[in-house]
């Protein structure tokens, strides 16, 4: 399972960077979305994927028995998803406002503040 996930994550990262390098601001935001999804999947995968073994502690014991799934990366990913969601909501509003002001879906028309 892990090698398959690794390939999928790699493709996600590559697609995201490709989208971010294009001139359209909409594609820029799509790139950011894919990038945060790729990072979340990566965290999920690096901690090891264990099927059907919830980390529950049996009654009367102080530690789970056997090879159980690690709950921490799932909590981390959940936090990261929420953060990514809020930031992307902001980014979408930002590109809409930018489009209203600049009247173009083109990053090359937005270089007045450079240099």
């Amino acid at each position: 399972m892990e090698p398959l996930m690794a390939v999928a994550i790699g493709i996600l990262y590559a697609t995201a960077i490709f989208m971010m390098l294009r001139r359209s601001i909409v594609k820029l935001v799509i790139g950011l979305m894919l990038l945060s999804n790729a990072a979340n999947l990566l965290i999920f995968t690096t901690a090891g994927m264990t099927r059907g073994a919830p980390p529950l502690i049996p009654e009367g014991m102080s530690a789970p028995v056997g090879n159980v799934a690690d709950p921490l990366p799932q909590a981390v990913v959940l936090t990261a998803i929420v953060i990514a969601f809020s930031v992307l909501a902001f980014a979408v509003v930002l590109i809409r406002r930018a489009y209203e002001v600049v009247k173009a879906d083109d990053l090359d028309k937005m270089k007045e503040t450079d240099t």
Binding site: L28, L42, A47, A91
Partner: protein
């Protein structure tokens, strides 16, 4: 229970929440803007005094023991940075009263300011690498919103670059955190350090170190990753620019200091040269970029980049003295750069422009403002006896001791070029006579967004400027006690075993047994949770 460690984070969150409740009442928001930041200053002082006595104060959040729960750690570096954040926050609160337009206040300027301070303080105090990411995001979201308040075209253009590159940095950071967890199975920074020391030194560790360096390098605006900064920092209102200049890049620098002295101290041998040259080129490109500019705030933005180079140089030399100098440079820069931005705000109000060509004559009109600018600008260039001289002196001395002559020479040369830039500002803004085509606003209290005059005006703007100008002079005159604190920071950062001991309660040398003991109950299991 040590509440003073958590309070610098909780208080601004509370002030932000309360001012959100009073969304429609500007007077209440303004009052909380000052009162909340004053309270933050008090608790930061409390924390600072405690840390100076004990060295390290830790607080385990929610009562979970150290490597499992989130732990807040204050060492001298954290405490000093939090204290500076509180001071700058209070002064910016006062300055904002006079400069923030009604439109900005109506759309949540003060709650966002509190949220930003909470994020910054959280990043300085946390001892958990994922928690550091969370605080970075809190800070970033607040800064995004502050940056586009007002919604002008330049702000939108600047914000797109700022948002994209900072999100990219965050994702690199998050990826590195995920890979770190996959490699060592913990997120507590002290615990990561222990396990990396005990583990076989593999190529993966170098990859992680470089990923963290790139992520924090973007945040800190180091060469070649700084392009978002000069493209965006001059676009928001000047109080926001000053707040960003004081705090945001410094959080990146702080994270570099923390991660590369505590977690990846072994990788420094390999990364030292890269960091050294990145620091040198950061200094040069920043100061050259500034030389080409004729807009007040853009010159200052490029100088932020240049000064970041000095701080990184302190880290890259990697001796206690150099690190002390690097942190000294951070403090000095927080005071001086903020003040220069604030002065640019006052000159804008007086002359109605940021373009140097159209400015002039302020030396005759406003001599005290000229004095404040003179102190700050020449402190930035490193003229004795101001604060910048000592920061630069310590770094240069550490560089000579480390026999890094070329880089040290570059640092000195960049000092001269900074002086050139500052003299240019002095000549154009204060010394030369006012050009005739300038239409100076007749009233020095311009209207807010709804056209009404903003009342408590220039006095409120002068107060923080004078305070910060006095601070740079005082830091220079009383450099000795400050330098002692900096030396303490240098010693603490290069002896990470004390930090680890304070957090985990494990004495160095026993880490292997300690790791065995922590992970013993589940043989071969990857789980972290559920240990007694």
């Amino acid at each position: 229970m040590r509440p003073e460690v958590a309070l610098p984070v909780l208080l601004p969150l509370l002030s932000g929440a309360i001012s959100l409740l009073f969304w429609r009442s500007r007077p209440v928001q303004r009052f909380i803007g000052i009162g909340g930041n004053l309270a933050l200053l008090v608790v930061s002082l409390w924390l600072f005094v405690g840390v100076m006595e004990e060295g390290y104060i830790t607080l385990e959040m929610g009562g979970w023991p150290a490597p499992f729960g989130i732990v807040l750690v204050a060492d001298v570096l954290s405490a000093v940075m939090v204290l500076m954040t509180a001071i700058i926050g209070l002064l910016m609160g006062i300055y904002s009263l006079a400069t923030t337009g009604r439109g900005h206040e109506k759309f949540g300027y003060y709650p966002l300011m509190h949220l930003l301070l909470a994020g910054v303080a959280g990043a300085f105090l946390t001892g958990d690498i994922f928690n550091l990411y969370v605080w970075f995001e809190v800070m970033l979201v607040a800064s995004f919103a502050l940056m586009i308040l007002g919604g002008e075209r330049a702000q939108m253009e600047g914000a797109i670059k700022y948002v994209t590159l900072n999100l990219l940095a965050s994702i690199i950071f998050l990826t590195a955190v995920g890979l770190t967890y996959g490699t060592v199975g913990t997120l507590n920074m002290a615990d990561i350090a222990l396990r990396l020391d005990a583990a076989e030194h593999s190529g993966m560790v170098e990859v992680l170190a470089v990923m963290f360096m790139v992520a924090f390098g973007i945040k800190a605006a180091a060469f070649p990753l700084f392009f978002w900064l000069p493209a965006s920092y001059h676009t928001p209102p000047v109080a926001v620019s000053a707040l960003f200049a004081a705090l945001l890049t410094k959080v990146g620098v702080y994270s570099l200091f923390r991660v590369f002295t505590l977690v990846f101290d072994q990788s420094m041998g390999y990364l030292q040269d890269i960091m050294l040259w990145a620091a040198a080129i950061t200094m040069i490109t920043g100061v050259l970029g500034a030389a080409a500019q004729f807009e007040f705030r853009r010159i200052l933005s490029f100088h932020i980049v240049s000064q970041i180079g000095y701080m990184l140089l302190g880290l890259a030399l990697y001796t206690p003295l150099a690190i002390a100098g690097g942190v000294f440079a951070v403090l000095h820069n927080m005071v001086v750069k903020t003040n220069l931005f604030l002065i640019s705000g006052i000159t804008h109000r007086l002359l109605g422009t940021y373009q140097l060509k159209k400015m002039g004559g302020l030396y005759r009109e406003r001599p005290w403002l000229a004095v404040a600018f003179f102190l700050s600008a020449f402190s930035l260039a490193g003229i004795p006896p101001l604060s910048g001289f000592f920061a630069k002196f310590v770094i240069v001395r550490a560089g000579i001791e480390a026999e890094a002559y070329v880089v040290t020479g570059i640092a000195l040369a960049v000092g001269f070029m900074t002086l050139y830039s500052m003299v240019k500002l002095w000549n154009e803004v204060f010394w030369k006579t006012l050009p005739e085509d300038n239409n100076v606003p007749e009233d020095a209290t311009p209207g807010g967004d709804d056209g009404r005059l903003i009342k408590p005006s220039l006095g409120m703007m002068y107060f923080p400027v004078m305070m910060l100008a006095a601070a740079t002079l005082m830091i220079g005159v009383f450099a000795e006690p400050i330098m002692q604190t900096m030396n303490l920071i240098g010693d603490q950062l290069l002896a990470p075993e004390h930090y680890i001991e304070a957090v985990l309660g494990v004495t160095p040398g026993n880490e292997v047994e300690w790791i065995d003991q922590v992970t013993a109950p589940q043989d071969g299991a990857q789980s972290e949770g559920g240990t007694p």
